[in-house]
Symmetry: C2
Subunit: 350 residues, 2 copies
Amino acid sequence: MEYRKIKDEEDQIEDGVVGDAVTSRGVSPSTVTSFPTGSVDRLRWKRKMVVTIALTILTSSQAILIVWSKRAGKYEYSVTTANFMVETLKCALSLAALTRIWKNEGVTEDNRLSTTFDEVKVYPIPAALYLVKNLLQYYIFAYVNAPGYQILKNLNIISTGVLYRIILKRKLSEIQWAGFVLLCAGCTTAQLNPTSDHVLETPLQGWMMAIVMALLSGFAGVYTEAIIKKRPSRNINVQNFWLYVFGMIFNALAIVTQDFDAVVNKGFFYGYSLITILMILNHALSGIAVSMVMKYADNIVKVYSTSVAMLLTAVVSVFLFDFHLSLAFFLGSTVVSVSVYLHSAGKMQR
Amino acid sequence: MEYRKIKDEEDQIEDGVVGDAVTSRGVSPSTVTSFPTGSVDRLRWKRKMVVTIALTILTSSQAILIVWSKRAGKYEYSVTTANFMVETLKCALSLAALTRIWKNEGVTEDNRLSTTFDEVKVYPIPAALYLVKNLLQYYIFAYVNAPGYQILKNLNIISTGVLYRIILKRKLSEIQWAGFVLLCAGCTTAQLNPTSDHVLETPLQGWMMAIVMALLSGFAGVYTEAIIKKRPSRNINVQNFWLYVFGMIFNALAIVTQDFDAVVNKGFFYGYSLITILMILNHALSGIAVSMVMKYADNIVKVYSTSVAMLLTAVVSVFLFDFHLSLAFFLGSTVVSVSVYLHSAGKMQR
């Protein structure tokens, strides 16, 4: 299978190249502990921390923007054009970063934009997987309501862990697996509300679809990591550029098939407001942060980062929107915190 | 302080004596793992398992009897006389066990009933602590309702862990501490219901009382362990006999001060039914099982055992009483299960 090949090639790449904290994890044990010793290790650890914190803050503010936009009233903009704009902006930002790099470092084999069919042929796959998942999303609501869907989405955590193990063949210790199960249970607990029990009445078809969607989303994430890590020395902005080009293409197809009439009659930017623009900007930056986390950390860190962001959002909402925290939220947050601890404590044991 | 002295004496006792799995834990590393190697270790491990499983089943059936008695209607028996009967029965059972032992093994220094003031002087303390705790119970309901009190009672878990560490000076590994925090969060999550959030509105006085009660109850448990383990070779039935004698005395005082008129007018056994008798029998056996767990295991095992029993009760109630399990229950059970795993995984690391 294709992803197996990617992993095998990656394994052959030696550790010498600057720039990848995670590929070398199996090789250099010092990057495994929380206290990096060498200066290269420290640099890698620092970069991993910066991208993780950036992703956490961006994801958290994303949710806050959504609450804000809901409070401010309904916005009748087309979601497909907004998604297209997000991909376009990510492309533009990657190009801008590359231009700066070319100016400073010159064009090299690793940072040149031109590519081969062999390198680029796997890039459309994550975008295609997300497309299928988003199509399924329309059908699952025949079986579960929106709050129930939010609960079921936590299955992503488990599917990401399982696929990370199978596809990228990276091992988690038993303690880390315990932490991962707790992350899923803790996030779900934090989201509990008096109507949550309805999710237990989900029919079998609903459960099947939820599991398939979790697997698709987990697979897309893990596959993106495999693509990005396939060639560790390759500049991340080039890799992002090609990923986002296919994102643009798939979203353009979505506009044509779903919103063509609305866009022709009302215009591409119909209904856009300041919040819409802020949300597009935030989504674009979050998307880039996700890629960076995939490059310099991994999908496990990504899942932890977005889970902690979910909790942060609730805490910030207390101050911004007079949001009321439930006992379930405190209990879930406690479980998630212990889970984060176990993830790093479990590393040291390996 | 008295309990410090107890601990110090215990530390001086050498490992040679038959009969105590836990005192030797710090000494022989082989008892620490889950897979005992020597035949003495295997015997200790087996006995520890038997008493733990007995406690779990008895505690679980205790809760089921309570539900059953509630369903069957109100029983107007006096709680103080029932408690006195429990202590009397435990005393009688300890004596019966001792009689058998004397017949088989003869009377020795370790199994003779006669005692010294020095040995027996600390025995009333746990009974006195429980009495103070039970008195406080009347007052806390001015600040929290009954379901809220059930939630707050989970603070016992944390207080037992902390006092176990401080008083018995036994260390838990970091992973085991993580497990202990999860046990508390998981049990509380499993008990969540739509009205649980009210507990967050508990005034400061209510919280203070809940914390004091948790400390009293944790202290009583840990102190009982200290007493029982002070002299590992001493027969547990003799130790139980003296503990329960003081239990009888304290409960007799409670009858005189609280239910004297009712007992004089209606009779000692007024309102007793088959269920009352079963509950007394169950409480007596559970009490003995608790002592055995303190002798052959420890307070941590006791807390895990009664927590798992709480979950078992709910599962059994599904079949017996058409009880409905909530999503919160499943999440809490998952967290408790992971916590049990972490407790044993954490042991191996030490």
